[in-house]
Every structure is written in structure tokens, then in C-alpha cells.
């Protein structure tokens, strides 16, 4: 299925390249890599330094979709992935 920017918050995120641009925990900012797993409250990002679990709440993620760079509010994807994509 083609990924459209408008529906990114309802799309499967596993496999996408992602970067944390702002977070309530400053130590999380800058984590980047591929999303390898997702739970209700967390995204698991596989980076060069291993896997990092980043909470969705209070975090802004940056995804590359096609040629566009998109920012997603963690609160808008705060749901179990199987529930979230039902929309």
C-alpha cells in the first residue's frame, strides 16, 4: 500500500527510518534508526548503537516519506498498532 503523508499516523510504522527531534527526556533527542517494533506506548528504534525504546508520549518523531520529511506528534500515534491502523 502506498504510504501517504496525510495518513502517516494511521500507517504501519515498522520498517520506516525515524529520528527523535524533541522529547520530554532530552536524552532521547537525536536517536535515529529504523523502527523495528511498536507497543502502545513505545517505539523500538534500531540504531547504530543498538535498540532503543522511545516513549511516544511527549515525543516528536521525524519520518522520511518519499522525498518529504514529516514530523509526527507522539500523542497522535499513542495506541496499540493494531488498533491505530484501523483508524
Amino acid at each position: 500500500m502506498r504510504l501517504r503523508a496525510k495518513y502517516l499516523s494511521r500507517h504501519e510504522l515498522i520498517g520506516l527510518e525515524c529520528r527523535v527531534v524533541s522529547a520530554s527526556d532530552a536524552g532521547m533527542v537525536g536517536i535515529s534508526g529504523r523502527v523495528v517494533d511498536e507497543t502502545r506506548n513505545m517505539l523500538v528504534i534500531q540504531g547504530e548503537r543498538g535498540r532503543k525504546m522511545v516513549p511516544k508520549k511527549g515525543t516528536v518523531f521525524q519520518f522520511v516519506v518519499g522525498e518529504r520529511l514529516l514530523e509526527v506528534e507522539g500523542e497522535s500515534i499513542l495506541a496499540r498498532p493494531e488498533e491505530r491502523i484501523k483508524g
Binding site: 503523508a5 499516523s9 494511521r10
Partner: protein, 219 residues
């Protein structure tokens, strides 16, 4: 720094050029935003909507809210005040008390404004320019808005409503005037600096939005 969201230049009902106002505002330490309904280069530009009916107001909001950095609604009638307070695309509802004996903010407007994030605007020029009984009435209306804000939690944004360069105010002047009216120091700081800046920032993010919680990254 005081952020003045409600200033008119000669592109609308004002008397001075944007460059002149900008120069003076900078010397006073004020961040100037013009609401002429014209996009100015290098100055935050907004529009002030005057509507007679709810239908007209909604049409104007739809037409302008993406185009400008902020959108101000000129209140007065209870129909317009309620409609503007309910719509989260509106940034500030100014003069809710225009042409009224009460302050134009009742419990319904207060609750809706708190829920949707619309700030209630107070123009200092109204208070400064009024004399005698009219000033007393305005001060009591502002006091009532302040009381409702404390009770219901909606935000207040203070601006000058300046139509010429002589009506522009500096940060310290505004803070002092607000504390004379009855604001505490924190409330005066929020109303004159934090809230207007938050409104501009909110709009900046909203204009980049492409879907629910998704926006284009800067750069």
C-alpha cells in the same frame, strides 16, 4: 518582550507605514504583529475579521485562517462571541465587550474559549483613550473578564489596538498598566508575552500540518 498582536498600519485603518511602526516597536522592545489582512514581509501578519452573522464569520474564518499568521475576530454581539470562542481556528477574540454594558464573556463563552484555546483579547487603547464613565465601565468589564479567566482557565491576550505610532507601548509600560488594572505580575506576563507568542507558534505548526498529528518538517 511584549508581543503586540493587534496593530493596524495604513494598509487597513491605521495611519503609519509598517516600516515606521516596525522601527518604533523595535526601539521600544516590542514585537510587532500587524493585522491588516495583508501579508507583510518580515512581520507577523494577521487579519481582523468583522462579521455581522455567524454564517459570515465562519466563511471568513475558512477563507483566511491558513493564509495569515494569526486570526483575530472582532466581537461584540453574543452570537459572534460564542461562535468565535468555539472555533479553534480563531486565535483571539478582541473587543467581546464592544457596544455592550456587560463584558461580552458569559459562562458559555468562557468554557468554550478554555476548551478550544481561543484567547480573549483586551485592547489597552480602549482603556487609555476612554474618559470618565466610559473608562469606569471598561475597567469593570476587563475586571469581569479577568475574574472569569481565573475561574474557567481561558487565556487573555493583551494588545494595544494601535492605529498610529503614538499608541504603541513598551513592555514595561504594558506590565505596569496591567498591574494597575488588577492583573498579578504572572498574569500580566502571560497575557502580554507568553500567550501571544504561544498563539503564533501554534499557528506556525498548524500551517505545516498535513494530517492528524502529522506536519511537514522545517527546512
Amino acid at each position: 518582550m511584549f508581543t503586540d498582536l493587534h496593530v493596524h498600519s495604513l494598509h487597513s485603518s491605521g495611519a503609519d507605514t509598517p516600516a515606521c511602526l516596525q522601527r518604533l516597536a523595535r526601539s521600544m522592545g516590542t514585537e510587532l504583529c500587524l493585522c491588516d489582512g495583508v501579508v507583510h514581509e518580515g512581520i507577523a501578519s494577521g487579519v481582523e475579521v468583522h462579521a455581522e452573522s455567524r454564517r459570515e464569520l465562519l466563511g471568513d474564518i475558512r477563507r483566511y485562517w491558513r493564509k495569515f499568521d494569526f486570526l483575530i475576530v472582532h466581537g461584540g454581539s453574543m452570537e459572534i462571541n460564542r461562535c468565535a470562542a468555539r472555533d479553534s481556528r480563531v486565535d483571539v477574540l478582541v473587543h467581546p465587550y464592544a457596544g455592550r454594558r456587560d463584558c461580552g464573556v458569559d459562562t458559555v463563552v468562557a468554557r468554550e474559549a478554555a476548551r478550544s484555546g481561543v484567547a480573549i483579547g483586551i485592547d489597552l487603547e480602549d482603556v487609555v483613550a476612554a474618559r470618565g464613565a466610559e473608562r469606569a465601565r471598561l475597567l469593570s468589564q476587563v475586571g469581569e473578564i479577568l475574574r472569569l479567566s481565573r475561574k474557567y482557565g481561558f487565556r487573555i491576550a493583551v494588545s494595544t489596538g494601535a492605529r498610529c505610532r503614538y499608541a504603541l507601548r513598551g513592555t514595561k509600560e504594558v506590565m505596569a498598566l496591567l498591574q494597575c488594572i488588577g492583573f498579578t505580575e504572572e498574569e500580566a506576563l502571560a497575557a502580554s508575552q507568553h500567550v501571544p507568542r504561544e498563539l503564533l507558534e501554534k499557528k506556525r505548526l498548524a500551517r505545516r500540518e498535513v494530517g492528524r498529528g502529522v506536519r511537514l518538517a522545517q527546512g
